[in-house]
Structures are given as C-alpha cells and as structure tokens.
C-alpha cells in the first residue's frame, strides 16, 4: 500500500473494521443488520462506508463491478464440447439491464482459443475479384470514414440444447449465446469500393487470423449493404475474445459469420462451402436433407426476470423484464402469457427500438402466489411471429441443433421457484 494523502485515515478504518469483526457478537449483529436487510428498514448503526473513506482514485485504473455482483459472469457448460478452446460461454442475461451487453460478460465462441494479437503486427488483406488488392494496417483502417452502430450478435446454436426438450435450467444457458453492443468501425463496402469490384464479384470470403483460421462465405449483396469491419465495442477497443484488433460483423446473421481476428477478405464468383457452412451451421432435417446458408437469426425473445436464476419472493407486485430481437429488422411487438399460452397480452417496448438490436420490454405483474407459466413471443417488422417449439419441430424435426428461436417458457411454482419447461 502506497503512502498517499488520506492513507492514515484509510488504515484507521481498516483497523476499526478488524476490531469490530473481532468484537464477536456486537460485530456480527452489526454486519447482519447492514448486509442481510431484505426489509427496507433504516439500520440503527451507521455502516462503515458512510463513516470511513473508501479507496482513492488510483487503486483501480481499469474498474471492475462491485464484489457483490461476482455472480454476474459468463458461464460455460463443460459437457458441450471436447475442449474449452473450441467452445462457448454464455452471457449472464438474467442479471443484465438495458440493451447493451457489458464487454466483460459478452459471450464468446472460439474455435481455436482466444487469439492474443499484437495490433501493430495485424494486417487486413482485401483481394480476389477486385481491381486493386490492398493490405491495411490498423492505423490505416482508423483513417477511413467510421460509423457507430448498435447490433446484436447471436450464435446460431443459441437455444440449441433445447431442441429435444427442456434441458438446461437457466435463462443464461437457454438464451445466453447473444450480446448487443455499439460497434465502431468501417463499412465493408468502403473497403471493397476502394479496391474496386470486378463485374463477376458475387461472393465474399472472410477469414480469421486465429488458430482455426475460420472462413465463411457470404453474398456480395450483404457485403455492400450493412457488413461492417469493427475495431471498437461499447467505446473501447474490441476485447481479445471479440476479435481484437478487428472483426467482421454481419448484422442480424448468425454470429459465426461475424469472423473475429479478421485478417482477409477475398472476393469470388461462387461460395467456398467451408467446413463451417457445410459440416457445421447447417440444419439437419428428419428427411436426412439439411438447410444450408441459414444466415438470418429469426425473431426471438426471452423473459430475463423471473427466470430460473431468480426466485419470486412471495405474492405481490413485480416487474417482468425481458429481451426481444430479430435479425430481419425491428421488433414491433412482444406478447406475454401467464397461463402457458392460452391467453396473451401485449407488453410495451422500451426505447430505443433499433433494427437487429436487442429490444427491452417491461411489464407490471402482480403474482398471486399460484403456479404460473410465463412466456414471451416476439413479432418483427416483417410480420414474422416467434414460433412454439412444436411448430419448429414440425418444420425441422429435432436434430437441427441450430436456429432454435422457439418461445421460452418459465414455470413459477407456488414457492416462487422458477424452472425452464416446455409445454404442448
């Protein structure tokens, strides 16, 4: 501990806390009154934080959340994959607010571990069916016209473990392969126009610089529409787990295509049919055929409170919280049911309502203490209605793995515990 102004007082505070802790019953009683208070009573004793100085401004150059929020972390499901380097973790949706996912808990999916790239050694190459191939440094990219855009990124496998039935008992695990951020960067269109497209330019390949060298093909129309090359997220440089120093974003499309650690863009006249768009990220049907090029993430929603991670603590007035999103554009409506889908009411949407971004909804709810089956249903601006799991299974069977955007249902039992269930 450095000697600075105010330090003696801080030390005195520590000493006093130690004394209180050593004081046994008296100390414990005080701690109990301050920490455990679920009732809104004003404590008799002044808490330490109201009397003694807290740390100064130099102890935490990069801030962290309160230690009381230590449960708000990404989690993984060990049995999903053979190794953590080719695996996924989940955003802690049930504890988050608003539409922006904090960078530290934004879900990660890697195929060859989290690459740690020196930005001065990173290059982005544009080549193929262009008049003039160009290679860019990070400094080059930041000299180009930049834009800020808010979009979600959602793994195609979000909800994938629920195709065969309710399986994971947590909002985080059932819909946590998603995050939403404000991204800063350059339109891919700008880069392609600087190189000049040849007339037969129809498809684009994006490639990562990590140890999986992940590649995905997408049509030139998307490249010239809203495809984006991002170097910043929520005001700071991308985190290594999000592709630092630069990643692709294909708004509204499955996140696997938003190639991280982007090192190369090749323009071609046909798709590449890479491993990640044939062996993976294709949707197998009962007939043995599979959907390919299933890019868009269809309308989806989830109630984040109550959720299996929360307990409804007795009858009374509460606020339902939830999120809705669509890869096809804006959310226009969210309906809620409290009886498992017999009857629905429409929940007001919270601003802002942005295309291809998370949208919040809140709804006042009076719980009478009886068993309640809560679910949400999103509708987007194309008129698409979020389906039931029965409707999805009817169309695609049970082996699709990907693109399960079915209505998520929570059972609140009489003791207020919440469970992930499926209804018929």
């Amino acid at each position: 501990m450095k000697e600075k102004n105010g330090e003696p007082l801080r030390r005195a505070a520590l000493d006093r806390r130690t004394l209180l802790a050593a004081g046994g019953a008296a100390g414990a009683a005080l701690a109990g009154k301050v920490a455990g208070a679920s009732e809104a009573t004003i404590p008799e004793e002044l808490p330490d934080w109201s009397r003694y100085l807290g740390p100064g401004v130099d102890d935490e150059p990069y801030g962290k959340p309160s230690k009381y929020e230590a449960h708000v972390i990404r989690r993984t499901v060990e049995w999903l994959t053979a190794s953590t380097e080719s695996s996924i973790n989940f955003t802690p949706l049930p504890w988050l607010n608003g539409i922006i996912t904090p960078n530290g808990v934004f879900f990660e999916r890697h195929h060859g571990g989290r690459a740690e790239i020196d930005p001065s050694a990173h290059r982005l190459l544009i080549h193929g069916l262009v008049e003039k191939p160009l290679v860019y440094t990070m400094e080059d990219l930041k000299r180009l016209p930049c834009e800020d855009r808010i979009w979600f990124i959602e793994c195609a496998a979000n909800g994938g473990m629920e195709w065969r039935g309710a399986q994971l008992d947590g909002c985080q695990y059932v819909r946590g392969m998603i995050g939403c951020a404000q991204w800063t960067g350059v339109r891919l269109k700008t880069l392609l126009e600087r190189s000049g497209l040849k007339p037969n330019a129809k498809w684009v390949l994006a490639e990562g610089a990590d140890a999986s060298a992940l590649t995905r093909s997408f049509p030139i129309e998307k490249a010239l529409d809203d495809a984006f090359v991002a170097y910043a997220q929520n005001g700071e440089a991308l985190r290594p787990g999000q592709g630092y120093p630069v990643r692709l974003i294909l708004p509204g499309w499955e996140a696997n295509m938003s190639v991280k650690w982007l090192r190369r863009i090749e323009v071609g006249d046909a798709p590449w049919y890479t491993r990640w768009e044939t062996s993976k990220y294709t949707d197998l049907l009962p007939t043995g055929k599979a959907y390919k090029f299933t890019w868009v993430q269809e309308a989806n929603s989830v109630v984040t409170w109550p959720a299996p991670e929360h307990k409804v603590d007795g009858p009374g007035q509460y606020t339902i919280r939830g999120l809705a999103w669509s890869g096809r554009g804006r959310i226009v409506r969210v309906d809620l049911t409290f009886d498992g889908g017999k009857n629905w009411v429409t929940a007001p949407l919270e601003e802002p309502i942005l295309p291809k971004a998370l949208t919040r909804f809140y709804y006042p709810w009076r719980w009478d203490g009886s068993t309640t089956i809560i679910a949400s249903r999103a509708i987007d601006e194309t008129g698409y209605v979020q389906p039931t799991i029965a409707q999805l299974r009817n169309a695609r069977g049970r082996n699709s793995i990907y693109h399960n955007n079915a209505i998520v249902t929570w059972l609140v039992n009489a003791s207020g515990e919440v469970e992930n269930v499926q209804v018929a």
């Binding site: 080549h127 999986s212 017999k342 209605v385 082996n399």
Partner: protein, 213 residues
C-alpha cells in the same frame, strides 16, 4: 442521425475520398505483392480453385494420420472421447441420433483439404505440408471406401470425387413456420407441461450462482 445530417456526412466523406491524392501524402493501404497474397490465400473451393500442387494416397496418409490425428480422432477415425468422429455414419442422417462425419455428411471433398490445411492438427495449425494434407484427405475418404487405397489425390482429382452426401443440402427456405396474426385469447384448450429441465439434471452446478429475487 437525421436524413439531412446523414446526407451532410455522406457528402463530406465522398468529397474527402474523391479529392486527388497530393504528392507526399501517406496512402491508406498498400498494394500487396502476389507473393504476399499467396502466403495467406490458402483457401480451396469445391471446384478446385485454390488447391495447391502436391499429391497423396491413403497408404501414405495412414502413417501421418496415426502420428498427427489419431490421438483425438481415433486410429480409425472413430473419435476419442468427445472429439469429432471423422468416418462412418453413412445412412444415419435420418436416424434419431444421426452420426455426422466427413464421409457421411460433408458434401465436397476439397473442403476436407481446406479445413485440415488451415486448422489441423488442433493446436498446431498450418504445420502440415500440402502433400501430407492430400495424403490425410485420401486416408479419410478411403477409410469409408469413397476412393480406393491407391487413388492419387491432387488438385486435379480431388474436386472430381463425389461425396455420398453431395446432394444433401437445400437452400434456406425460412420462414418455415406459420405466419399471420397470432392468437391472443383461448388459444389452446389445455396446457400440458411436457418437459422439465430440472428432471434432466444436466445444468452445471454453480455455487457462485445465487438464486435471488
């Protein structure tokens, strides 16, 4: 951003980009040499575009496979633990538990070359020679009888190999669920809970995760 503001920005950017480059200005991006591009341009397409020179057979591939691949994928491509199974499973795609492997599911043979070359062995990517990648590709395809053991796999022959599931894919037809105005009242006669996540019991236990209100 309002429309007029958007237009203002667009105009400013276009003007800046269209202005002639002055002598001594630092360019944005540089034109790479063909040799530079070749260092990174490692992809191979189903039609063979991008496949490099080189060759290999299943016989040659077996030894390399056993040394570099079998510790995860098994001596016969049957997989160790949860690592991917590479061969077998043909005809299983309609089963309740389909077995998706290179030979049962992958539609194009050059993709096998492309993926091994760029990403395998897991943790030591791009360490195999092109001959070794051709040979391992041949070994996998021959394991399920797609090619004979002495078949020479190279840039010429690989795109011509017809994979068993070549016709297994259809373009995305979504939306594939009912549309229209959704029901709001008395939508189902009886709600039956058919699945309980807690009864499955596979959710990770996390003592740091509180159940809170």
């Amino acid at each position: 951003m309002s429309k007029s503001r958007e237009l203002l920005f667009a105009t400013a950017f276009v003007a800046a980009l269209a202005a002639p480059v002055l002598a001594g200005e630092r360019p944005i991006g540089r034109v790479p040499t063909p040799e530079e591009i070749a260092r990174w341009d490692i992809d191979a397409r189903p039609d063979g575009l991008g496949l490099p020179p080189g060759r290999g057979t299943a016989r040659e591939g077996e030894e390399i496979y056993l040394a570099r691949c079998a510790s995860c994928h098994g001596e016969f491509g049957e997989a160790v633990g949860r690592w991917p199974q590479l061969v077998g499973g043909q005809g299983s795609l309609t089963w309740d538990e389909p077995i998706k492997t290179v030979t049962s599911y992958w539609p194009y043979a050059p993709t096998v070359f492309d993926y091994i070359k760029r990403a395998m062995p897991f943790g030591d990517a791009q360490s195999l020679t092109d001959d070794e990648v051709y040979a391992i590709t041949a070994f996998l395809l021959a394991s399920d009888g797609i090619i004979p053991e002495d078949f020479v796999v190279d840039a010429e022959s690989l795109p011509k190999i017809v994979m068993p599931n070549a016709d297994g894919f259809i373009d995305d037809p979504r939306p594939d669920v009912p549309g229209g105005e959704p029901c709001m009242k008395d939508c189902v006669a009886e709600v039956v809970i058919v699945g309980h996540a807690r009864k499955i019991g596979v959710t990770p236990e996390d003592k740091a995760r509180p159940v809170t209100d």
